[in-house]
Symmetry: C2
Subunit: 190 residues, 2 copies
DNA sequence: GTCTATAAAGCGATAGAC
DNA sequence: GTCTATCGCTTTATAGAC
């Protein structure tokens, strides 16, 4: 297995980084060739639908990673506190403590969402649902669990925006600490 | 004053909407001419620096709106609870209950931030600082006030991402309700 | 202050040789 | 499976008439 970047699966993470940095519209094919070291011919061989297909592949890759590394553990790991702790570890790792942006989040904000509506919708829906199930297992009632899960997932996305706006990973780390406490905390008073 | 869209100040809000929908890279000059009804000649007359200058003008416009409608009231309106209430009303109005995205947030996520680093940074810094000052006035100690303000501002940004991802304003409204409660609530247990 | 015409560069995508 | 050459189109930006 001594080869440079040749396989489709090796290219996808590089595409992911570029889309995260530039957004979908801002990522040009010429820069994609630079980053991947692959000519346009090769790229269109691996991704017959061009840029659109590349973004789809990256979205699927991200969804798969979160399913196995975050959502499934949230549903299955016991005790629930341990499942939540793992989620925050995975999140901190995946987003490089706020230095890396959420690909689905950046796609969600502009009109790229309209092209990938189902991928964008299901990513956040699955995350929220999985986290809500964990909170339920830890004794929170169904309604409150979904509400709190939504709060935490939104909190993570907002922390990514804020941390990048300040160019300061500490903003993200502080947010994670707060959210962690909120995930395991008791009900705040009405 | 019977005229159509002629003045620079009339064009800026239209530019804002377009940048919010498409992001900076995705907003093309040809679509800008369509939206504004102004030819390229006129646009370059009003904005000699082209697209870059248009985005700067929109950012300045947004910053000015928030300064007078949100930040100043946060610092000055008494009692603090009333100041916070006004912020949430203004936020709900400005973001059309989650149907409209945050321009600064969308710029913050991709490499557009690098071109407008100071504008992006100061927008969120000013918001956080103003809200923290309100919380201090209501009796929260300095450290916790800044932390809680950061939490709320991030919460709003994350709610915009999540609401758009689900194409559901209710997600945003729910988030605002939670954040409102958190802003006026007592300290959650450690 | 607005327009049209135009320039030069870059875009995504395809063809076809190897 | 990779490359280069090329297509047709769009991009930002400018020039110059009115």
């Amino acid at each position: 297995m001594v080869r440079k970047v040749l396989e489709r699966s090796d290219v996808i993470p590089l595409l992911g980084e570029l889309f995260r940095e530039r957004g979908f519209a801002g990522a040009s094919l010429s820069e994609i060739t630079k980053r991947t070291g692959l000519g346009k011919g090769s790229l269109y061989h691996h991704f017959p639908d061009g840029k659109e297909g590349m973004a789809k592949a990256v979205l699927d890759d991200v969804a798969a990673w979160f399913e196995t590394e975050v959502f499934a553990p949230l549903r299955e790991v016991d005790p629930p506190d341990e499942a939540v702790a793992r989620m925050f570890e995975a999140v901190d790792r995946f987003f490089h403590s706020g230095r890396r942006v959420c690909l689905v989040g950046i796609f969600a904000l502009d009109d790229t969402r309209d092209h990938y509506a189902e991928e964008v919708r299901s990513y956040f829906a699955a995350w929220t649902r999985a986290l809500a199930s964990t909170l339920e297992r830890s004794g929170v009632d169904t309604g409150r669990a979904h509400d709190r899960a939504e709060d935490i997932v939104a909190g993570i996305q907002g922390a990514l925006v804020l941390a990048r706006s300040q160019d300061d990973p500490e903003v993200f780390m502080r947010a994670l600490r707060r959210l962690r406490a909120r995930a395991s905390g008791v009900e705040p008073p009405a």
